[in-house]
Symmetry: C3
């Protein structure tokens, strides 16, 4: 049985398959806790978690905050518009200060790829990467893998499409690592400008025609159009995007009847996915959200020295 | 004995008098808790409360937050300037996401009338309306009724003036329901443009001359001048407002000696009410604030399956 | 043995030396708690602490928030951009409202000198001054004194330099009171425009040439250049400031080998102090941050009726 030895969760690239499945199995035990009337366990009582969100994200912050509180940790939040950042303090100094306050975890969202790695090498506190630029968003990759496994039973051999802006997507990168390490057959789909050829080196297929690969897919993961991070030049009009890469009702006719529709949210209804499909039987978009809490509880618990699922069940 | 069966608190219009008094009696038991050195009970341990304030209101948010924490719930706040809203997510999607995080309560403040009703019909979580446009603000109506009852003993037959901007006031609407269901005789007073004739259909009187009705009043409830929500055209100058509808010292001379002066806050000292009167013996403005916590504890407790005051006392 | 009798902590000027050392001794006991795996004690369970930061300061807010949470208090935060302030409510009304919510502590950061004193005279809640204009920042003075005592054993006779913008610094003022009451020999150093002659009346020396006093110093406390609060006219260029008052490597050569380098943070690396020196063996800058939590726990505990260190140890 694998046991957890890392101080930090920076990327899925570096994790072994055994480590990934230790997190997933632990999350399964926590998911059961979330269905109880009292959704709380004392695992992290007296521990302090800081949400250091230099790039704002209410959803991810709240998901981590709820995960930490349900483990009985104390949580404080420090958002991007906070005064110390305005005063020009460096990320390292901010983090060292938090550590000097005997903080146990720093959950970092940052616009620069490598920010979480940078802190992980310099601090004793556990660093959890909650998204660093276009690099990784490991808990998102884990919750997506968890959701697929829960619905499909097994990942090995599954055909998974990741569709959209691959180039700028940390969600895509973390999913690529999680899925390929688990034996899925991943195909990246999107506009040529946003799906670079060299991703083939990661062990995935590339396809620019969604309709060609859609019929065989077991899972279609649609990425959010991130206007914020995209340069104007690379992106077609929204109408053109929908006609080529949107999961419309028409296009959905070609899918397997048990295809899973996934999206990291927040969705642009009618753009990446038809509004009715997003609410339909094939959609697991809200399950992803539910599973996100369980995954984050598992990560916090394991980084804090938790032994694993058998400790929780007994 | 009435017991609580509703999932949500959206409006006072829909509540029976028995339901209203079940909340008030439960709040009385919680008020006693607030006077203890340890102002905390374990009723909502392991439950999660989200303050979803799409329209900001620090006071009301803090009142609900304290009420929830004193019931041992976990509380997270999501304010209007939050990123998901900026990203154009709809209210329904935001709420469904929160529910997917196994949230038990959503306390909603929103600029659109009907927003709380909309969510209550679509979510399993309990929705508490913390103010929706000019529609209702039920916990304010309840805390005002609680305050009057505590001071006057009985509501039946009391003459209550609600003075100011009735047209745009959710506080007025919730108070009208609470007071008329309890047998008070309510008179609305204010500029003609802000006190529409058709409010008579709600079982209240309308009067445009404050001085005419003031001498007989048992309670004078002054509404805040809400520059934010008012259209310029309807409103007189501040000086003119004071001369016609401000509770000045001069005007106070005409009142009964035991008249109650009420205001939902924050007050504009010297506008709706003279500053000394606001701090004087007839003012119960700060008691309203204290009672607001007890009322909100009672509502959270009852929506969460609490049985009522006798359970708390025993 | 001194016992604590004050309701508030407004300034160090008014404290006796015995009171100051009661806080320091209590903080020493709490510092031990912070090194435990479970950094939490139940002292303030059921008590409510409000961070009322009319002038924003993420660091100080988080330090107080962690201190309060580790004492098991409930904490709510009310920041400067909050709506009630926007609505023009006065500080007094905001505070009275918080008190009406049965709040036990108000931690106030405000741009106006005297704001904490103003509230302390009008409220039953305990007021802790977290910085009021250029007046005082008592917990900063206490944590600095704590840090020096921990490293040097004794304050009596120590030569302490406080260098920088004395005129606008509440940190300087609180340190002057803490240090002179403890028998240290304090020398203020900085540009003539920022170190007024009349500070001599506080029992300190004044010197405009840092290099002259540096060799004899046991402690060098560097103040942050506060662009925000400074008027342009009084301040030299940053380059000129560094050349005259920055603790450069060159200048450090002249110091005693065991000199303590202190800074209240956030530091401007390469301005007030050389970046390597800030991270070096003589720097206690991060220890100040750690000790800040212990001091704030001690203050909250004593104002809440705590007996002192012997109660904590037993």
């Amino acid at each position: 049985m694998t046991s957890w030895t890392r101080k930090d969760l920076v990327s899925l690239r570096e994790l072994s398959s055994a480590e990934i499945y230790l997190i997933l199995d632990t999350a399964r035990a926590f998911k059961e806790v979330l269905n109880r009337p009292i959704k709380k366990v004392p695992s992290l009582r007296g521990k302090t978690v800081v949400n250091l969100f230099v790039e704002p994200s209410t959803r991810t912050r709240i998901s981590f905050e709820l995960a930490a509180k349900r483990l009985s940790a104390d949580v404080v939040s420090m958002e991007s518009e906070s005064s110390s950042f305005k005063k020009g303090e460096t990320l390292k100094d901010t983090a060292l200060n938090l550590q000097a306050m005997n903080v146990d975890y720093i959950i970092l969202r940052h616009s620069a790829a490598g920010a979480a790695q940078f802190l992980s090498e310099r601090l004793k506190a556990s660093i959890i990467n909650a998204g660093d630029g276009a690099h990784e968003h490991p808990t998102q990759g884990l919750l997506d893998l968890f959701t697929i496994r829960e619905r499909k039973g097994n990942i090995q051999g599954l055909k998974v499409i990741i569709c959209g802006d691959i180039l700028f997507s940390r969600v895509a990168r973390s999913n690529i690592w999680a899925l390929t390490k688990s034996g899925a057959e991943v195909t990246l789909v999107g506009p040529k400008t946003l799906v670079p050829e060299d991703f083939r080196g990661l062990g995935v297929k590339i396809e620019y025609d969604l309709d060609k690969v859609l019929p065989a897919a077991d899972v279609v993961m649609l990425l959010r159009i991130q206007h914020e991070r995209q340069r104007q030049v690379m992106f077609p009009s929204v109408g053109e995007y929908i006609s080529l890469f949107g999961l419309t009702k028409n296009r959905f006719q070609k899918c397997k009847s048990d295809v899973l529709i996934m999206h990291p949210g927040p969705i642009n209804r009618g753009v990446e996915v038809d509004s009715e499909l997003a609410d339909g039987l094939n959609s697991v978009i809200l399950e992803q959200v539910t599973n996100g809490i369980a995954i984050r509880m598992a990560v916090l618990y394991l980084l804090g020295g938790g032994k694993g699922p058998q400790e929780l069940v007994s």
